[in-house]
Structure formats: C-alpha cells, structure tokens
C-alpha cells in the first residue's frame, strides 16, 4: 500500500500540521506530549498502524488550524525521532520540519530514578535530562546524574 494511500485514510487538511512516520502505536503519546490530547478546540485526525515501506507500520497525526513550532516538535525526539512534519497552508505543504534532539530535554520527561530530588513534583525547577550519547541514546539527569532507563521514560512524560 502506498504512502499516498495511507495518507488518504483521512481527508486532506486546509491549514495546520501533519506529523508522519510516528512509530506505530505512539500517536496517543505524541498527542499527550504536545498537550493536544483530550478536549481541544482544534480538530485532530489520527491514523494508527498503517503500513509503511520504511517502518513496516506507522502512525500519522493531522492537527488542523494549528502550526506546531520547532520547540514543540523537539519534545517528540524521545518517542518519534524520525517523524516528518509538514506545515500545511491552503492545502499545500508550506514548510517541512524535522525533529531535533538537542543537548538537553527540558520539561519533557522527569528522571526515572526513584530517589531523585525531582520526584517531589511540587519542586518548581525544570526537569532536565542531558543527552550524553545519541546512538544508542543515553540520557542523564542534570540533578542526580543517574543514567536514565529509556524503557521507563514513556511513563514519565510531563
């Protein structure tokens, strides 16, 4: 099945953002991380587990009437590092964006170590995880210095 075909499972949007090549099953988490889960004023279309040549299967999200910013998209580096993003204006692709993993993830996820000072959620300073290695990904908490358990991080999304 072609990519074109899978994109057409939902109608083309006039204005907004399309996030393609999300790993299969991660679309809900992506919406949550973007703060557009649940009640939201803008229409959101979500396609899950469609066939993909590159990935085997993938998820796609279309957010209408909202152009996501680069910094919003960079929050997705942990769950959808290879996602491709298109900003749509008047039914055409106006801009193409990719997701960048910077030097540090700020207020994206909280540390997985149970005795870290940041486990007290009333503490107001930003949650900060430093990228120490990219491939394979290794993160350390800025405060306690503990290496992060990547399999647990999805539960700690802020």
């Amino acid at each position: 099945m072609s990519n074109e075909h899978s994109m057409r499972r939902v109608t083309a949007i006039r204005n907004g953002t399309v996030i393609d090549h999300i790993p299969s099953g991660q679309a809900m988490l992506v919406l949550e991380m973007l703060g557009i889960a649940g009640a939201t004023a803008v229409p959101v279309s979500l396609v899950m587990n469609v066939p993909s040549k590159k990935m085997g299967s993938k998820d796609i999200i279309k957010v209408e009437d909202r152009e996501l910013t680069q910094s919003e998209l960079d929050r997705l580096a942990l769950v959808a590092p290879d996602a491709r993003v298109a900003i749509i204006r008047a039914y055409s692709v106006a801009e193409k964006l990719s997701i960048n993993l910077g030097e540090e993830l700020v207020n994206v996820v909280r540390c997985t170590f149970s005795n870290c000072i940041t486990t007290n959620l009333r503490e107001p300073l930003a949650h900060r995880l430093k990228v120490v290695q990219r491939d394979p990904l290794q993160l350390r908490c800025h405060y306690c210095g503990r290496p992060q358990d990547l399999s647990e991080l999805a539960n700690n999304v802020l």
């Binding site: 005795n115 870290c116 405060y143 210095g145």
Partner: protein, 314 residues
C-alpha cells in the same frame, strides 16, 4: 566556580591548590593562630539528615576563621515538616547567608539547591550521590601521609555498594593515577557502572573478596562500615563482617608507611588494637575535615589564604 556539588567541579590543579591552602591553615584549625579570614561571613548549615562530623566540622571551620554559622536545626521542627519545598527553603536561607553547606536524603538535591541559589552550595552528601568535601579531606589525609597523590596503591574495603564516600574517592584517585583494589563481600561489591566508568577513565582496578591478602604492598587501606540492615539473614552478615575486621595482628606484613583510614563512625571493622599502631590515621582524618573545609570555604567565598600564615595566638 560556584559551589562544590561533585568532584567534577574541581580540576586536579584546583584540588592540589586547595590542599596546599589546607596545609597552611593547619595551625589555625588547631587554634594555635587566630586568622579571621571569614569575619562577617555567615554559613548556613542545612542538614536534612543526621550528621555529626560533617556538620560539626563545617561549623568549627567557619568559626576558626572568624565567621558565623546559622543552623536549620531539627528537620522535625522546621518548616520542612510543613511541606516546604527545597526550592523555598533555599530561597530563604540564600537571603540569610553567604554560603550553604547541605546534606539531603534525596540524590541531586545539592545540584538542585545550587540552581535555586545565588550563594555557593557545598554538598555534604545527597542520598547515595556525592560527598565531595569528604573526598577532599580524604585526599588531604593521603597526601599528608605520602607527600603525593599520584600512583599510590589504595585498598577500599567493606561496603562499596552503598557508600557514597568510596564512590567519590575512587573517582578522584583515578584522576591521580592510583591503583585501586576493591575488597568487599560479593553482596556489597562496587556498583558495576562505577567500575566500568573508572576503567573507561584508565583506572587500574582489581576486585577481590580477600582484604587481608590485598594489603601487602598497599599505601592506603580505606575501611568502611558494613551495615547489618543490608543483609537478609544474620548468619550471612556475621560471616561477611568477620572477613572485614581489621586487627593489629593483620598489619605485621604491611608496608611501614601504609595508613589505615575510615570515614567513621566505626563499629567492629577496625579493632581498637589498630588505634595504637603507626598505621592508624582515622582520627587525624576526622580532624582534617575541619582544615579541608576551611580551605574550601575560603575558596568558594573568593578569599585568598595567605601564602605565609603567622600571627598572634588567640
């Protein structure tokens, strides 16, 4: 340099320079010379966990240098028990003091406090994390005995799994090219990630369960307390603790200038018979906590320790 959170905040040159300051401050620490370098400065002692030596030696260090100290007091009666965040506590103490010494049960608390404060933070222990001022006094004690830090053979023995003291110290010793021997019961081995981290920094590390057999050509034997509560059953504890109990009779074959250290408090791991030997250095080590912290307080407050210290007695 703002505060001292981990030993990574100091270069080797800075470590040696602070140890030299500490050496010159010895007569001040002993009370033989009065040198009010920190007059008018206030240290905030924030100990969210019990501490005897660290808290008292910070207080002594500040007072020997003419400075003053305010204490958090008992956590049970402070605003912490009402649910105040560390951030808020630090905002308050930051306004009252010029520098803060802190111990906290949660790991990362010292870095968190440093990010929340304008004054320098001295980490006096954060959970199982770091305890750099202890490492500085340990390095001072080793340098005092051997005249150098480079290339020594150091045995670290006992509970290497949970002891933050030995974690910080082994990192620092690796930076000075020391050979490290980790002698511990298998249950209390040095955490694997620390051993591999040390090796990736070029450390020569040997792991063994045989303490007595590893002391023959050591320059330092650093003992730590094996805590009963780490063991599931009492027999296992008794067996392990027995294999890490140093007695004067174990010291007949060691090098003449080998020193025995311990962060204290000790329980059974060093028999009092060792106290009278030339090797015992743990009480001097505890005293050195004062002089090492004096040098650190001066450094972090931007006060230069004079190249020559002489002056009137108190």
């Amino acid at each position: 340099m703002t505060g001292l959170i981990t030993m990574d905040d100091l270069t080797n040159e800075q470590i040696l320079s602070i140890l030299e300051d500490a050496e010159r401050l010895l007569p001040v620490a002993r009370g033989e010379i009065y040198l009010p370098l920190l007059q008018g400065r206030i240290l905030g002692n924030l100990f969210f966990e019990p501490s005897t030596r660290t808290r008292m030696s910070f207080e002594t260090a500040m007072k020997r240098l003419g400075g003053d100290v305010v204490n958090l007091g008992d956590v049970k009666t402070s605003s912490v028990v009402k649910g105040e965040t560390l951030f808020d506590t630090i905002q308050m103490v930051d306004g009252y003091t010029d520098i803060i010494a802190m111990r906290h049960p949660r790991q990362g608390a010292a870095q968190y406090a440093q990010d929340a404060a304008r004054v320098p933070i001295l980490n006096g222990g954060d959970g199982a994390g770091h305890h750099p001022t202890q490492t500085m006094l340990d390095l001072f004690t080793i340098k005092q005995a051997h005249g150098r830090l480079e290339g020594l053979k150091v045995v670290l023995a006992g509970d290497l799994r949970y002891g933050r003291t030995v974690h910080s110290l082994s990192h620092a010793l690796t930076r000075f090219g020391c050979e490290l021997i980790f002698a511990s019961p298998s249950l209390l081995n040095m955490p694997e990630e620390i051993v591999s981290d040390l090796r990736s920094h070029g450390a020569n590390v040997i792991e063994t369960e045989d303490l007595y057999g590893s002391m023959a050509d050591a320059d330092v034997v650093y003992m730590t307390r094996i805590q009963k509560e780490r063991f599931a059953d009492e027999d296992e504890y008794a067996r392990c603790a027995g294999a890490y109990k140093l007695h004067a009779r174990h010291l007949s074959e060691v090098k003449q200038d080998m020193i025995v250290m311990h962060p204290l408090p000790r329980v059974d791991e060093i028999d009092p018979s060792v106290d009278k030997t030339r090797h015992a250095r743990y009480f001097e080590q505890a005293f050195n906590g004062v002089v090492a912290r004096m040098a650190l307080l001066c450094r972090l407050l931007g006060v230069t320790v004079p190249a020559k210290i002489e002056g009137g007695a108190l």
